[in-house]
Symmetry: C3
Amino acid sequence: MHKFKKPKTLAELAEIVEAEVKGDPKYIVDGVATLKAADSKSISFLTNSLYRKYLLHTKAGAVILSKDFLPDCPGNALLTENPHAAYAKIASLCLADQARAAQRLAASSIIAESAEIADTAVIKDNVVIGENVKIGADTVIEAGTVIADNVVIGENCHIYPNVTLYHSVVLGNRVIVHASTVIGSDGFGFAHDNGSWINVPQLGRVRIADDVDIGAHTTIDRGAIEDTVIEQGVKIDNQVQIGHNVIIGAHTVIAGCAAFSGSCKIGRYCLIGGGATFAGHITVCDSAQIAGMTTVTRSIDNPGTYSSGTGMLPASQWRKSVVHFRKLDKLVKRVKTLERGRGKKDQTSEKKS
Amino acid sequence: MHKFKKPKTLAELAEIVEAEVKGDPKYIVDGVATLKAADSKSISFLTNSLYRKYLLHTKAGAVILSKDFLPDCPGNALLTENPHAAYAKIASLCLADQARAAQRLAASSIIAESAEIADTAVIKDNVVIGENVKIGADTVIEAGTVIADNVVIGENCHIYPNVTLYHSVVLGNRVIVHASTVIGSDGFGFAHDNGSWINVPQLGRVRIADDVDIGAHTTIDRGAIEDTVIEQGVKIDNQVQIGHNVIIGAHTVIAGCAAFSGSCKIGRYCLIGGGATFAGHITVCDSAQIAGMTTVTRSIDNPGTYSSGTGMLPASQWRKSVVHFRKLDKLVKRVKTLERGRGKKDQTSEKKS
Amino acid sequence: MHKFKKPKTLAELAEIVEAEVKGDPKYIVDGVATLKAADSKSISFLTNSLYRKYLLHTKAGAVILSKDFLPDCPGNALLTENPHAAYAKIASLCLADQARAAQRLAASSIIAESAEIADTAVIKDNVVIGENVKIGADTVIEAGTVIADNVVIGENCHIYPNVTLYHSVVLGNRVIVHASTVIGSDGFGFAHDNGSWINVPQLGRVRIADDVDIGAHTTIDRGAIEDTVIEQGVKIDNQVQIGHNVIIGAHTVIAGCAAFSGSCKIGRYCLIGGGATFAGHITVCDSAQIAGMTTVTRSIDNPGTYSSGTGMLPASQWRKSVVHFRKLDKLVKRVKTLERGRGKKDQTSEKKS
């Protein structure tokens, strides 16, 4: 079970998520747990009908669910149209955050004198913070993270261990960055000069707006001249690569291992599947859906779903199809020849008749 | 040359790997080296016929090989059916482990008082270890690694530098985790709520069984409610992404850059090629082989080999094939029309004759 | 604006990049800025005709450009055939390097007594440096980086935060390694032994030549027996995976997320697109161009451009093409049947006539 910061009545929880209490509104719970693991002091939830079988016999003090499942609920319930969102809200607002229980500034952290750290921020062990860095209220920086000069981090952010923020990166409020992620590394830019390559200095920054989530091992490069920009509410999974001067529109969701070449401009409310890749300078309109592993090689102007690839086949069958794919041009010509032949013959027949 | 912890006779080595000594069983060697680099004090090995040319003139004190190559061996030999495995066993059991030569608990490591560290474990510089962590005998934690609260690590594990283990992750015995890998980061789960996304707390753990190897820069997310599970003897390469609630069956091998979406269930003894990707909730049976870069979009019930993609072509030829791939539906219709035409004509011919 | 270490006359800058001064050669500038942001003390640049619109009204003290744009330039100019390279050279030679302004050996760094650190090298906070490491003049090691025993790093290198260099890795001069990159991790090699897998020790090293750039989150494995080798002037982007015993030829450029299986040998001056993947033991000749996301499954002997994949389609159209791709073998047979039919009929017709 995961404990709340302090116990809550069902009425209090219902108010937070605009739900309706079925049963005793004064009933007190002090944490969340799964239907299977819950005891009478926990509130549980049914967000996936796969788990319905556990509802009838749950020992939970209350269950968050939609009205369809109410008849099976043995005790108190919080009734809502969106139990998934209600559960997420309650858990994120009420669960005790162990990170914040720690000491405020770890003795082993190394903080430049010119840095401004809010009184309620928590800086953990072995964190290194450079000159002129600003860190807002209630933000937590976990162990081993390195924050270079002139970085600005807003309020209520959570930066996990071993993250690297390069100089001048800007993070809004309530931004989450998971372990080992790198933000602000140099964009990949070289000028050709007599058979070798010269580094082009990357003078832009990375700006990340409020409520952005970034997974582990994700890389976001700084801009060459202008900034790389992640707009409000964007959710980014693990091992995503975002090149220099990319702009990701607000509330777009990007699954793991997706990759954006330099200067892509992705719209708002897009859903980007895992491993999807974008060629440089591509523009994608709002609300487009890109299937997992799609190779996006040209701009998308109409919302809708886009895919690429051949789908999976048993290898023996796949080898045959690939051989024919290579010769598709010849096949099309053979069909054309047949059509011409038929055309002639039709003419011939017509003449004959 | 790579030195043994202490010199060994060929008889002692033969016993470890159940090999037969050809030559002098009392001959003493004190390290391993390649056929080319070996001197009379080292044992060498021939595991790949490409290197046969070096066998005749090797100065090695002895060579691990199979009987096919014995006639070319100029000196002592350890004869075995599987020289690759014999070499691997000897090297991993007998080579001096420099990591363990270090001090036990580095003065710069930061270890919570409630952590239980076995007497023979080695904790190197700048490691951070949280509350209630347990670390077993002979385990080595390299510099800069961060281990959050309630993590349990078994015996004889080796955790390389700059790794992050999130809270409550469980590792068995003899687990290897290479540099910068992240285990236990939050699964990618969001509830939709009035046009924005709310984080769904990830309450499960990651459990990793005995004898698992994990490469560098790999990410394994914690489960949403239940745990993410890596079973015994699984071998995972670099830059692999494993989503929440994935289960990887025992002894499966996963090459670099493969990616598993949430709730995949992969069987035992599978071979997963580099860059292969798995859609969410896919099930794969035991002993399946997935070729590199295959996009697995549906479950696999029969062992065998699976592939996807078009194979590589010169770009000019490839462009033609892609144009036709886009119009395959039309091509099929044209062939259908031709077939109907022929059908008619055949009927006509028959009537005529 | 980004400040120079010290102000320069246009004549001095022109000499560095072999450009011609148009205007006042004694004019002094003290930094670089974009056409839009520049003031009269900065030099700006026009390397992309997209930004031509800002040229007419720029306040820059001088502009680096090619002669085509000279008529639009309102003030002083540095005229050169390759403004991109000229800008890159001036910026990298003249910009003040904030990294070097720091203290030389941070008090919190942990350096083995046997390590040899050049007098002008900078070692930042929480860096850990092992036994017998050698670090050359003017090299900067950023915070949190871990350098294992026997590593050799040349002069003028820049290693960013949280990098891990495993033991015995060798870096030349002017090598840049971005944050969290891992060099020298074990190659992925296992010997099969009675249903389980034994680790094969990886005894080779990684050798990286002069002027190599490596992005963030890239992984380069050490060789099994021989070394993994990155030749001079190679440029590697983020999240690239390089397996054991790979050799990358001089001046080859590798975009993000590309992956090389073990023992690939890539030529010189190749251009490797983002996400391109190479099967094991592939050889690629000099000057080959591999398009983004190409799956290279066989060796390439002729320079030229190579591609794979189907290109992106709207999902409904894509699904049709994929269904037909799966049945291409049948379609080819149907066309063959039609051709035979026509053959017969042609014969029949001929006989008839």
